[in-house]
Symmetry: C2
Subunit: 400 residues, 2 copies
């Protein structure tokens, strides 16, 4: 008898299969190996989550499929304990002497990676004070950009990934429920966001704490907030928080989610402080109409740009283009934004396993912003709307 | 009579002076202009804080000193409302058709930037699904890396920057005070962190809410937590949170801070759950000895590597090298890590206005990690220890 332990994670075998997919691409291109510096790519292929700093780290794979991590001393045990890999090499510290990249060169050489290399960047990016050579200079070889292939691979989610995103939706939902409950005239954005975030995270941990790992460098639980999209400021779609006090008549745009083993979902709603006036109601209804138009256009084989065109037709038919500010959605996964995009310039066909946000918005100066965002998976024969928070005006009108 | 309004921010005139400094460097190198894509650099030179996404943004300056932002439609009002700049150009959307970079090319050309360009990257980085051309390909010109000059400039903080970091210290202090108060046997990491973070943020907003802006894409208030550095896991210096339950005898390593108009401070403490045993006490005392050694070595003109050497001598004298994992500190400012570093490979002399974390650590398998981190400014004649949280074992022993 085999006993399977309950788990909310990506399995080792799935990580290995991901690596094999990348290896087939890289060897097909004639590369002697692959070097990846991006922390999300490293998480995707190895399950190793870390906080990126000035200390360079890399995932390395040679043409035989040997998988290695390159880390500073600081991360050695962390890497050894968590990664699905064959080998961990480490350097002492950054900047140090010799420069860590000299040791990466030794690692690559010892793994037989001496010809052309497929990489996400030509060297570790100069973040947080890091300075160092290009990989091509260091190795004296050609470094080809393999990001497009990786992004294409990451865009198609497996059943396990879809399950993590569905789990994320649940805890984003409770955070949003509490956000709506605690939002009232006179309260401030930050206190309401913090209370909802705090209580949702406690509930989440009470429910799934023993099997939960955020695997995220920036968040440790469920969260919900406004990012300053309150009242007239809600007409600025990617505002930052500014601790605004809620007032009667405000149009609010929310956001909620939770990283689950690194995977994200997105839930955003437009809410009104008190009964909507006629213009607010007209704009709210059109926003829902725009979102319905996108949802109805989505199915496997339809292109991203066709979905966006359907939305733009609705904008034009209803004389709303003056309120348009952005495309209809993006994909989501380990990162809160990924490609492809529901955009006029993106002709990628929708495929089963892609997970999109669907979020056309209306932004009206002096009145506010109107946007719902739902998380939607493409299935074999249509779509699955993964989020299930109410979208109607009655449910989203707050008492004043 | 002039009435100055209370403010916690960087002034417009300081942003202009920063731009002029960069301009002198770039024109001195013969560049026809500067293009910066990094959101921290854009915040540093313009005061414009934003959430980086797949939609490329840039700060552009020509050799006449004209300052421009390049943004998507989505960010237009946000950029116009907040930036200290002469001109905002925008494109419709990413990916769109034509590609946004074609419009950046038009902007650069119209500003007379047709010769060599000083840039932080050769094109917008491929984050969050973005794909696009190199800047050098796009413009058919040489693109030189100006990051080193920018990093050198950012390393020397002004009086206004020091004031923001001192303000950050205060609110990190209250978050840490609450974290220590609420940490008890049987509680979990996440609930204690969330409660301390929530209450500290409310207190901060009660005190400075009307003049507070985080200017940070990732945090909206004060925070404190453990990042999983609890019990034996505290021996992993950059662990991630894992919702561990506190147990008697645990060695804990904390972290607290608050973004103030983008600026960060760092406060970390080692705490023990219950009376320290002899070995815990011995290691704690050595950790404080290591930190004192670094503080005593720091003054203007001394090199970063010399400070680290003094620390390494203490390690060696006391047979502690087996517990060493990282250098003695890093600088801090708009980013939570910056260069230069208190590292053997960094020979930069300490200069007035540099702000370092001082945080040598001991990591002992099976026992735990021991690290305090304080935020320390270099002054004309010595140092200012900006953090003032108790460092002694009695103060950091928790009741069990």
């Amino acid at each position: 008898m085999t006993i399977h332990q309950a788990a909310i994670k990506i399995s080792d075998s799935e990580h290995r299969a991901r690596c094999e997919h990348l290896l087939r691409y890289a060897t097909g291109e004639g590369h002697s190996g692959v070097v990846l510096f991006d922390n999300y790519y490293i998480l995707y292929y190895t399950g190793f989550a870390f906080v990126p700093t000035e200390r360079p780290m890399a995932f390395v794979m040679n043409s035989s499929g040997e998988r290695a991590l390159f880390v500073p001393r600081l991360e050695l045990e962390h890497a050894q304990a968590k990664a699905t890999i064959d080998r961990v090499d480490h350097y002492v510290e950054y900047p140090d002497n010799p420069h860590p990249m000299e040791l990466l060169k030794k690692q690559l050489t010892s793994m037989g990676i001496t010809g052309s290399i497929g990489a996400d960047e030509d060297g570790y990016p100069w973040i947080l004070g890091y300075r160092g050579p290009r990989l091509s200079e260091l190795m004296g070889t050609i470094v080809a950009n393999v990001r497009a292939s990786i992004e294409d691979q990451m865009a198609i989610k497996s059943e396990a990934e879809l399950a993590l995103i569905r789990e994320s939706v649940k805890w984003g939902h409770i955070a949003h429920t509490l956000l709506q409950r605690y939002t009232m005239v006179g309260a401030t954005e930050t206190e309401v966001s913090a209370r909802a975030t705090n209580e949702a995270t406690r509930s989440m941990l009470d429910a799934i704490g023993p099997i939960y790992s955020p695997q995220s460098p920036f968040s440790e639980g469920a969260s919900a907030g406004y990012r300053g999209q309150i009242g007239r400021n809600s007409a600025i779609p990617h505002s930052l928080s500014a601790n605004i006090t809620f007032q009667p008549g405000d149009v609010l745009v929310t956001g909620a989610g939770a990283p689950i083993w690194g995977y994200n979902s997105e839930l955003e709603r437009t809410m009104i402080m008190g009964a909507a006036n006629d213009e607010q109601k007209r704009l709210f209804d059109h926003m829902v109409g725009l979102q319905n138009t996108a949802l109805e256009a989505m199915r496997p084989g339809v292109s991203c740009s066709d979905v966006n065109s359907a939305v733009l037709s609705y904008f034009e038919r209803n004389d709303l283009m003056k309120y348009w500010k952005h495309h209809s959605g993006h994909t989501i996964g380990l990162r809160y934004h990924e490609g492809p995009f529901l955009d006029s310039g993106d002709h990628t066909p929708l495929q089963p396993g892609m997970v999109f946000t669907v979020e056309p918005g209306l932004y009206v100066p002096g009145i506010g912003g109107f946007r719902h965002s739902d998380t939607v998976a493409v299935t074999e024969d249509g779509i699955e709307v993964m989020t299930y928070y109410p979208r109607d005006l009655v449910s989203l009108t707050l008492p004043v």
